[in-house]
Amino acid sequence: MTSVNETNEPSRRAVLKAGVGGLGAAMLPSMAEPAHAAGPATAPSAVGGGAAGGIGAALKRVEGPLKVRGAATYAFEWPVENPAYLYPLLSTIASGRITAVDAGDALAEPGVIGVLTHMNAPRLAWAEEPEVAVLQSDKVAYHGQIVGAVIADSIETARYAAGLVKLEYATEPVDVDLRADRDDLRKPEHAQGFGQLPGDLMNGSPADTTVGDFAAGMASAVHRVDATYTTPVQHHNPMEPHAAVATWTDDEITLYCGSQGVSTPQELLTRAFGLQPGRLRLISPYVGGAFGSKDFSALWGTVALMGAQLVPGRPVKLAFTRQQMFTLVGHRPASIQRVQLGADAAGKLVAISHDAVQETAKAKQYAEQTVQASRSMYAAPGRRTSTRIALLDVPVPTIMRGPGEATGMFALEPAMDELAVKLGMDPIELRLRNEPETHPETGQPFSSRHLAKCFEEGARRFGWKHRDKKPRARRKDGWLIGTGVAAATYPSPRLPGSTASARLDKNGRYTVRIAAADIGTGTWTTLAQIAAEALGVPLDRVTLQIGDSAYPRASSGGFSSGMNSWGTTIYAAARALHTALDENGGSVPPEGLQVTVGMPDDPKLKQYEFGSYGAQFAEVRVHEDTGEVRVPRLLGVFDVGRVINPVTARSQLLGGMTWGLSMTLHEETAIDHRYGNFVNNDLGGYHFAANADVGSIEVHMLGERDSHINPMGSKGAGEIGIIGTAAAIANAAYDATGIRVRDLPLTLDKLLR
């Protein structure tokens, strides 16, 4: 057996064990560091003196001192006694059935506790949902599906023994071929919310829309663009692999689990395992990035809980390997998009169409709103959009930063650039001429839309007016230089189903609880700021508690909905607490005052179109000899409403723009059509931007309050930064070289001459 000689006391394990149990203690992974025992959101040293700090304050991240030491506790790091380790075993075929399992060698390996396969895994109460259920049948729906798991005393043993499990398969032909000319493309249905919500697409909107007469408009156009753009499969690759630590006892079942929200996975897993509500507690105060990959899928929670069921009372630790993440936590679906634009002689659009074909899994329809931006971006009397999907032997795709618009705007915005070239018109001018007064499809007013101002401000800051009219006009030291621009938009939705509690204690301290999550967006800081503002007290009197399913239920973080949904709910809770205080004659009883309220209905949500906007500018250099592409400068001006925290908001936008750069230059998951596997399934093969790929990035926020959207006046900032970036860069590459690349990524071979 192994032993650890701890020469220094007190050991971290001992200290932390003492802290587990109470709600507060479980939230405080920093207990080993006494100076920060007050918890991240209330550490006075981190909030600049502790006073004020409401909406608009440029506060540093409150959990910063923890994170720079590596002391913020991510899922796999929760200290537990005598853990067992689970290692999943993945299918090596893309379609077929498992015909035989031989776990003999694996079970004979010293240290192996058990082997799970579909033959012996617990039967789930909800076994049909491929993003939640595993090991429920012999069917293999994609390459890299979980087909087994080994539980052992150590990481090394579990992984090695997984390789000793022998599986035999009956294989069926593999079909992973996305083509626009397939005769089995279909219109998506019920893609939203695990099939429980109406609407064809993931966001609840219809697959197809038509307004006016597109064909007639196109026929009457003086200038036309008809072009097809493609985007590949992309993977989120958060730095923290999907991990869980599960402990199953007769009473509580605890799951430390990196997740974009704690309530949704808690509910999914409760349903899957047929548990009493509340028995499963999911804890996730810190998440090492998610970007959509830790929301719909709950597979790592499922398999960790299955392992924990096998060894009751003993914690089971699981972390997917980087390679496993490529098939188990979703991906951005590949797309083929045709955009047609027709304009009159003055550059007024008379017709717009956007037809998207996307891949999805046979196992489950996922269909995103790739064409959404083309429905709202520009005015035109004749317009239509359509969405078709190909059902393939691939893992289930999912939301990934800027789902829908990130890919869709790589079609619409380069097409607008192509139209500007045909018109001989400045591309900003073209966009301004087609700015709609109300939503072009619904006719509803925009709650606020400052796109024109974003362009105006961006053009001034970027120095746009000095741009050469002709492509391939500038070169320096062997590099061709070009500039490009694109518009950005992303909806600012409010997701249903959030609740928050607000409490005032006799000592004057306020506590706000909501089962929200901080995936790196700054929620620990910004929600505390909102709470302080809503309560009308300085920040240092507010304790925020998030990341635990024991707190009032909240929607997941995603779609740039977090602040809108959770902040609005916290405002309602604060109001209710004030009312309760008034009703109590302004005094706090000894046991304190506490209210718990749900997010209020708001008729305005049905009266306006809510969204963020932006103007993206790029300078691109393309090497004359090698075709290498560099992006020395990006500049974005954004209308994200009132800014809750300029520090964290800027970082969100900066991150989004860098994602845009990365998806343009690097990101592509290759699929082998013979085997159906993702070929470049690690960080050496799947490139996303490294530090050296990023040059100067300037971010500006208009800061105009949206008076309709929510009590804060803020719109979403999480997605808008990535929208349009790829188009701005590709448009700049055209300006540099005269070569129009319509297929991402913009790799050097496409520009090599």
Partner: protein
């Protein structure tokens, strides 16, 4: 990882004897490639013989002006060495273009020569691969082709060699010193690697148990005017699509000495001898550079997914020679 034993022998000869006598044993030096591949069970040694403390970590100046580099010198130490930076800048640049600082602190000079290919089918034990498992076939040829070879490949294997350092070493006519079960020997870097046609499972001519102990760089005045240019899919921290190591001397407008090697295009660092012959004694003009590059690449056999490497290699060679001419 398959369970293995770890040993730390006291001297080189016992290390060599141990590994030579046990087919399942392997030397361990920096470990950056070996441990990586062991995790995926691409390699499954049952015994690791640690030689990091046995091989020299010194760089000695030889009489006549050459350098002898201990095989245990880390990639960063070698890149930072003043003598390398001044007299063999191509080598310093090649090292600095590879991997990351963290990896280069671990990686040794000896181990770098022996890096295995990054071919994704080699690295995936569920796929056919003649290099990993002789006789199973090559899944790469009709698969994802971006990183594959355009020169020197065979039907059985189209993998590329990933080392940047080795490309510079090939251009510099470096010599590898080894100790093996049958004694010491010296091998030209340009003769270290085997053709995949002779069986891709063995990358080099080294015998079982033969250990690289040092590398010798011959004195080379032309090396003072040398450069390494790596073209890749990221600006940093990525393997080469194509790389060029070159040294050039131009007198009175004509090429009087030239060294040229390519990376990312073949199963080995590809010494461009045909191009060198075409350049030597000819005027240092753009047209001649291009003709020399095309002569070298005339034998290229491209696949659909890596065909761009041929014009890319041509353009990069021309660009490099142009730059060196301006500097010379």
């Amino acid at each position: 990882m398959k369970p293995f034993a770890y040993e730390r022998p006291v001297d080189v000869s016992s290390a060599v004897t141990t590994v030579a006598g046990r087919p399942e044993a392997s030397f361990l030096a920096g470990g950056t490639n070996l441990v990586d591949l062991m995790k995926m069970e691409v390699l499954t040694p049952e015994l690791l013989v640690d030689v990091r403390h046995l091989v020299s970590r010194r760089i000695e100046t030889l009489t006549g002006g050459g350098l002898r580099i201990g095989a245990g010198v880390s990639n960063n130490e070698l890149a930072a060495d003043r003598r390398i930076r001044r007299r063999y800048p191509v080598l310093s640049q090649a090292l600095l273009a590879g991997a990351s600082y963290q990896l280069r602190n671990l990686a040794t000079v000896g181990g770098n020569f022996l890096q295995r290919t990054r071919c994704p089918y080699f690295r995936d034990v569920t796929m056919p691969c003649n290099k990993r498992e002789p006789g199973t076939g090559c899944a790469a040829r009709d698969g994802h082709q971006r990183d594959l070879a355009v020169l020197g490949a065979s039907d059985s294997c189209v993998a590329t060699h990933p080392s940047d350092m080795a490309v510079a070493m090939a251009a510099l006519d470096a010599v590898v010193h080894t100790v093996g079960p049958s004694g010491e020997r010296s091998i030209q870097v340009n003769e270290l690697y085997r053709s995949p046609a002779d069986g891709p499972e063995r990358d080099t001519v080294l015998e079982r148990g033969e250990l690289i102990t040092a590398v010798e760089l011959p004195a080379s005045p032309v090396a003072a005017t040398s450069r390494y240019r790596k073209v890749r899919d990221r600006a940093s921290y990525a393997f080469a699509l194509v790389s060029v190591a070159a040294a050039l001397e131009v007198r009175d407008g004509s090429v009087t000495e030239v060294r040229l090697a390519l990376g990312g295009v073949a199963h080995k660092p590809w010494r461009a001898a045909t191009a060198e012959r075409a350049l030597l004694g000819r005027p240092a003009t753009e047209a001649n550079f291009r003709a020399a590059a095309e002569a070298e690449l005339a034998a290229a056999q491209a696949l659909a997914g890596n065909a761009f490497k041929v014009p890319l290699a041509r353009n990069t060679i021309v660009s490099m020679l142009r730059t060196l001419t301006e500097e010379a």
